[in-house]
């Protein structure tokens, strides 16, 4: 069965800290891995990763995919209270191009 696992499930840090969120997957016919940030209801897109070893960067956020280890990390440097959210990892794959989500990591950044 295809699955995506995220860790940790939750994390509390102070402003200015650096955090690393993990995502591992077992999905047939892997096509891409996506990271989303969810603050209220709609997940908002952060990154799409298809190639191993190439870092994607946007401001203080960055992410990289390791296809050999079937995993990805999302790094956030100099965290701010506005980074508090659920971070969702999803893998596009399977025979029908389905997006399979992990349970998410709940990040709380304290002032």
């Amino acid at each position: 069965e295809d699955k995506v696992v995220q860790s940790p499930l939750s994390l509390v840090v102070h402003e200015g800290d650096t955090v690393t969120l993990n995502c591992s997957y077992e999905v047939t016919n892997f096509r891409s891995l996506l990271w989303y940030k969810q603050e209220k209801k709609a997940p908002t897109f952060l990154f799409m990763l298809t190639s191993s070893g190439i870092e994607k960067k946007s401001g203080r956020l960055s992410s990289i995919l390791d296809k050999k280890e079937l995993s990805s990390i999302l790094n956030i440097t100099a965290t701010q209270t506005g980074d508090s959210a659920i971070y969702l990892c999803a893998v596009l794959g399977g025979a029908t191009n389905k997006l399979i989500f992990g349970t998410g990591t709940l990040l709380a950044v304290q002032p």
Binding site: K41, P43, L92, K98
Partner: protein
């Protein structure tokens, strides 16, 4: 439209009633997805359309759930004989067809069955 639009944003219904949730995808997006998200969980796949046809409906939990997309644009998720366990946020997403295309989500419809 500019983004994925879902209506209603909130719906409270009594157990046993029928509900319809609507999704209007980004203009030109041929792929449309429905997900359900319960508190503390990641989104759970329900059904995926390519154009008018359901490419994968393996996530629909039972025959009370049905979705249509008759003209390949707007989709409606229909839930018959609602149960309290159906309470969740129902998320719709759309994308262009193809591996490199980002999937964009709507704001969701929060369904509460009382």
């Amino acid at each position: 439209g500019a983004g994925v639009s879902q209506t209603p944003s909130n719906k409270v219904t009594e157990k046993g009633k029928y509900v319809e949730l609507r999704c209007d995808p980004i203009s030109g997006h041929t792929a449309l997805y429905w997900y359900r998200q319960s508190l503390g969980q990641g989104p759970e796949f329900l059904i995926y359309f390519q154009g008018t046809g359901a490419a994968d409906d393996s996530g629909l939990p039972n025959d009370r759930f049905f979705a249509v997309r008759p003209e390949g644009s707007v989709s409606t998720l229909k839930i018959q004989r609602t149960e309290r366990g159906d309470s969740a946020v129902y998320l719709c997403a759309s994308s262009l067809i193809g591996t490199g295309n980002t999937i964009y989500f709507g704001e969701g419809s929060w369904l509460t069955v009382v």
